[in-house]
Amino acid sequence: MYVTFYFTYALVLFSVISILYTFALWSKRYSVVIGINRIWKLGVEEINRLIRGDSIDRMHFAIVVGLLLSIAFALLGPVLDYLWPLLYLMLVLSLPAIAGLLWSLSWRLQLLGRSDKLNRKLGGSKDMIFNSKKLQIILIIVISFTIAQLIVEWISGLGWLANLLDAAKNLFIAFYYVRPSINLIKNFDRPVNRMQIPFELKKIQSGEVDAAQVKMGVDKIGELNKDTIASCDSCVEIGACEAACPATATGRILSPRVLVRKVSVLKSSGGSSADPFNVISDDEVWSCTTCGACVYSCPVGVDHLGLIYSLRRTMVEKNRLDQKKSSLLMNLMQGGNSIGMPNYGRNSWIKEEFGISEARDGKPFEYLLWVGCMPSFDERSRESVKSLLKIIKEAGLSDKLAYLGEEETCCGDPARRLGEEGTFQNYALTNIEIFKKYGVKKLVVLCAHGYNSFTNDYTSIDSSMNGIKVYHESQLIEELIEKGSIKLKKVEEDITLHDPCYLARYNGVVEPQRLILSRTANLKEPKLSGERTFCCGAGGANYWYDVPEEKRISHERIDQLSATGAKVTVTLCPFCNAMLNDASSVKLGGSMKVIDLSQYVEEHMNKGS
C-alpha cells in the first residue's frame, strides 16, 4: 500500500515540477516577471470578479480554486493526517469548489456542440476545428479529474488514486494552461482602452522616423505585435468572449474565439509567414464593433481587439474598403467631420440661441464644450446639446463656457477604429494644438467616443493631454447636482439606462449616471449593464457601414432594455441614442422612448430655483 502511495506521490512531484518548469520557460520567453506582488494583485482581481462578475467569471474562479486545492491536497498528502485542522478546512472548502466545477463541466459540455457548429459556420479549417475540439475536451478532462480527485480526498485509503488523478491533470496543465496563465498574469490589469500604436505620426513628420519604414498593416502573422501573437496562442477555447460578443449574438460572421484560434492554428501549421487573411474573411473583421466585451470577459487576458485593429489597418492600407467605409474616410479627410456635411458654420446656432462665445472670440473660459460630430449636424441629437446648455445656464456656468465653432472637427475615433491610424493621429495632433492654443484645462463632451479619445487615445500621443480634465456630460451634471447648482424632482417613473461601451467598459464611468437617475426616477437596470453593457451596434465605425447579420445589434439591445419593463431608456452617447431610437421605432413601434441623459435631467430639473 505504502509503495503504491509513494510511487504515485513521486508522479505528483514530477507533475508539479513540470508545471513550475514550464512556468519558468514561458515567463522567460514572454518576458514576464512573476513576483509575489503581481500574483497578490491578480488574486484580488479574481476575487473582485467572483463578487461582481458574471457566471463565467464564477466558473473560472471555481476552476482555479479547485485546481489549487487539488494540488495542495496531493502535495500535502503524506502529512495532511497530522495537520488535521488544515485537512478539515480543505475538505470543507472543496465542497463549493466541487459544485462550481460541476457547473463549469455542464456548461462546457453544452458548449462543445455549439462551438463546433460555429467553427464550421465561420469557415474554420479542418485543423482549427480539430484543435478546437481537442482543447475543449482537454479542459473537460482537467475539470473532471479535479472533481474526481476532490471527491476521492473524502475517502480514506484512496490516496494513490487521488495522486494519479492529480498527476495526470497537472501534466495537462503544464502542457496547455501555463501559457494562458502567464498571459493573464501579464495582462489582467491592462485596460480595455489600451491600444497598440503602429507608428507615431509626430515622429514621421519631424523626420525622426523614416516614413518608408512605417508599416500600418500585416502581410504575415509574424508581423503582428508579439503581445497579439502571445494572446492568440494563449486562447484555450474557454468561450467567454464569444458568449459576450454582440456580433456573435446577432449572427454576424465573427466570433472572437474563432478569430484568435484561426490565427494560432494557422501559425502552427503554416508558420509565421502565413497571411492571416488566408483563414479570415474581410467581413469577419468588419463585423466587430470594438465594444471590448471579449477582452473584458476573457479569463486569460487575451487581447482580441489588438488582432482586429491590426487586420483592419491591413485592409485600409490595401484599400480593401467598400464605398461606405471609403466615403467615411473621404469625409474625414476632406470635410473635417465624420458626417460629410460642410464644417463651415458648424454649431453657429449655439452662439445665436444661447449667447455662448466661441473660443476664438478671446473671452476667458473655464470649460470648453466639444459638441461632437453627431450633435453638430443631427437635428434630434442637437436637442441633447440644447438641454445640456440649459442645465449649464441653470447652474450659472454659461459665462464660463466656450465652444470651438468651425475650429471643431472630428475627434478621430471613427478613423482609428476603422484602421486608418494616420488620419486619426492627424486629427489628434491638430486638436491637441488647438487645446494648447486656448490653454484648455477642462473639456466637456456628450459623446462616449470623444470621451475615450481625449482621455486615453490623446494622452498616449501627447502627455500634455494629461493636464486636461475631461468631463462626460454625466460627470459634469453629477458635479453640479452635488454642488447644489441644480436640483432635480423625483417622479414615479420606471426608467432604464444604456451604458455606452466606450464610457462604461472602456473607462469605468458607471456611477454618475446612476446617482443622477436614481434621484429622479426608479432606475431599472438591464441584465447587461455598467461595465458589462451590451453594444448598441454603432461602435468601431459600424455606424457608417453594414455587414451581413441575422439580427441588428441595436434590436437585440432594445429587447434587453425593454425586458426591464421600463418605457424610457436614457442614453449617454449620441450614437447609441440614434441606434436605439431607430431600433425602438422599428422593433417596438416606438413604444420605448429613447432620450439622452441631458434631456432627461433638463426635463426633471427645478427651473429658476
Binding site: 461606405k324 466615403s327 467615411l328 476632406q334 458626417i339 460629410g340 456635411m341 453627431m374 449636424f377 443631427d378 437635428e379 434630434r380 441629437s381 455606424y543 457608417w544 457601414y545 453594414d546 441588428r552 441595436s554 434590436h555 440614434a578 431610437n581 431607430d582 431600433a583 421605432s585 422599428v586
Partner: protein, 297 residues
C-alpha cells in the same frame, strides 16, 4: 506648336479636336477597339494596336511617339487618367489634370480647372505639357469630307494584362445617383404594405424608389442598393419626395443635394421639415393616393 491627342474613345478625340481647333495643330493617337480607323480631322493618326485594358501597355506605346510633340492631351476617362500620369512620370513631362480650357499666352500654356471641390474655377499659367481634358466640354469636330491623312499603325507588345472574357454588367440593378425623381420611404410608413402606396406614386411620376437606413438595412423592405444616406447612396435628383422620413442626419447627408425636396410626415417636429422646400404635415396614407390620382389625371 504641335500637340498629340489621345483617348480610347473616338468621341472624346473628336471633342478634343474641337477643343484645340484654331489653337494649334493636333495629331491623334487612338487605341479603341475597332476594325477600321474612325474619321478624325487630323493629319496624322496613330492607331495603337492594343485595346487599352492595360494602361501600362498603352502608355509605353505613346511614350515612343509623344517626344515629337510640345503638348499631349488625354481624355479624362479612367484609362486616360492612368495613361496620362504614366506618360508624365516616365517622360518627365509635368502634368495638369481635368482642364476645361486651354490657351497659349506668351508661349506658355494657360488652363482653367475646377478648384475647391467645384466651388471655384482656377486659372493657371503652367509649364505642364501633359493634360487630361474634362469630357463633354466641347462638341465633336467631325470632318464633312474624307480627310487626307497619314494612318500609322503602332504595334505594341502585350503588357501584363490580357483580356480573357467579357461579361455584361448585371442588369436590373438601380442606379439612384442618376435618377431625376426619387420617392423615398422611411420607417414612418409603418408597415411593409405602405411600400405599395409609395410605389404607386413612383410609377405615376416615373421615379425611382428609395429608402432610409431603417427601411433598407433593418427591415429589409427594400434592397441595400436603394438605401440613401451616410451608409448608403448620395443622390441629387431634381425632385426628392420623402415619405415618413424623420430626417436623421444619417439620411439627410444622402439627399441634401437634391434640387427640390418635398416631405410628408405626421410629426410636425420631424427634422426633415428643416431640409425640405415643401412640407406636408399629415398622414401619408391619406395624402399620397390623392397625389397619385391628381398626377394621373
Amino acid at each position: 506648336m504641335k500637340s498629340l491627342i489621345f483617348s480610347e474613345s473616338a468621341e472624346i478625340i473628336k471633342e478634343m479636336l474641337n477643343f484645340l481647333n484654331g489653337k494649334m495643330e493636333a495629331d491623334v493617337a487612338f487605341a479603341g477597339e475597332t476594325s477600321e480607323a474612325p474619321l478624325f480631322a487630323a493629319k496624322k493618326v496613330f492607331i495603337i494596336d492594343s485595346y487599352p485594358y492595360d494602361p501600362q501597355t498603352v502608355a509605353l506605346a505613346l511614350e515612343g511617339i509623344v517626344g515629337g510633340y510640345d503638348y499631349f492631351f488625354v481624355g479624362a476617362t479612367t484609362v486616360g487618367r492612368e495613361v496620362a500620369a504614366m506618360v508624365s512620370q516616365d517622360m518627365n513631362m509635368p502634368m495638369e489634370s481635368e482642364i476645361m480650357s486651354f490657351g497659349l499666352e506668351n508661349g506658355q500654356a494657360k488652363v482653367s480647372r475646377f478648384y475647391y471641390g467645384g466651388k471655384t474655377v482656377m486659372e493657371k499659367i503652367t509649364s505642364a505639357r501633359v493634360f487630361t481634358v474634362m469630357a463633354g466640354i466641347s462638341d465633336q469636330l467631325v470632318p464633312d469630307k474624307p480627310y487626307e491623312q497619314e494612318v500609322i499603325m503602332v504595334h505594341v507588345q502585350s503588357g501584363g494584362i490580357n483580356l480573357i472574357s467579357r461579361e455584361e454588367k448585371q442588369k436590373g440593378s438601380v442606379d439612384l445617383t442618376k435618377a431625376d425623381i426619387i420617392v423615398a420611404v422611411g420607417r414612418g410608413i409603418g408597415k411593409k404594405e405602405g411600400l405599395e402606396v409609395a410605389e404607386q406614386l413612383a410609377s405615376a411620376l416615373g421615379a425611382e424608389l428609395a429608402g432610409s437606413r431603417p427601411v433598407c438595412s433593418d427591415l429589409h423592405w427594400l434592397g441595400e442598393e436603394r438605401q440613401v444616406g451616410l451608409s448608403g447612396k448620395r443622390v441629387k435628383p431634381k425632385v426628392y419626395i420623402a415619405l415618413g422620413i424623420s430626417g436623421q442626419i444619417q439620411h439627410i447627408v444622402g439627399m441634401r443635394d437634391s434640387k427640390t425636396v418635398i416631405a410628408i410626415n405626421r410629426d410636425k417636429s420631424a427634422p426633415i421639415f428643416n431640409e425640405c422646400d415643401y412640407g406636408l404635415v399629415g398622414d401619408l396614407y391619406a395624402i399620397v393616393p390623392k397625389l397619385v390620382q391628381a398626377i394621373r389625371s
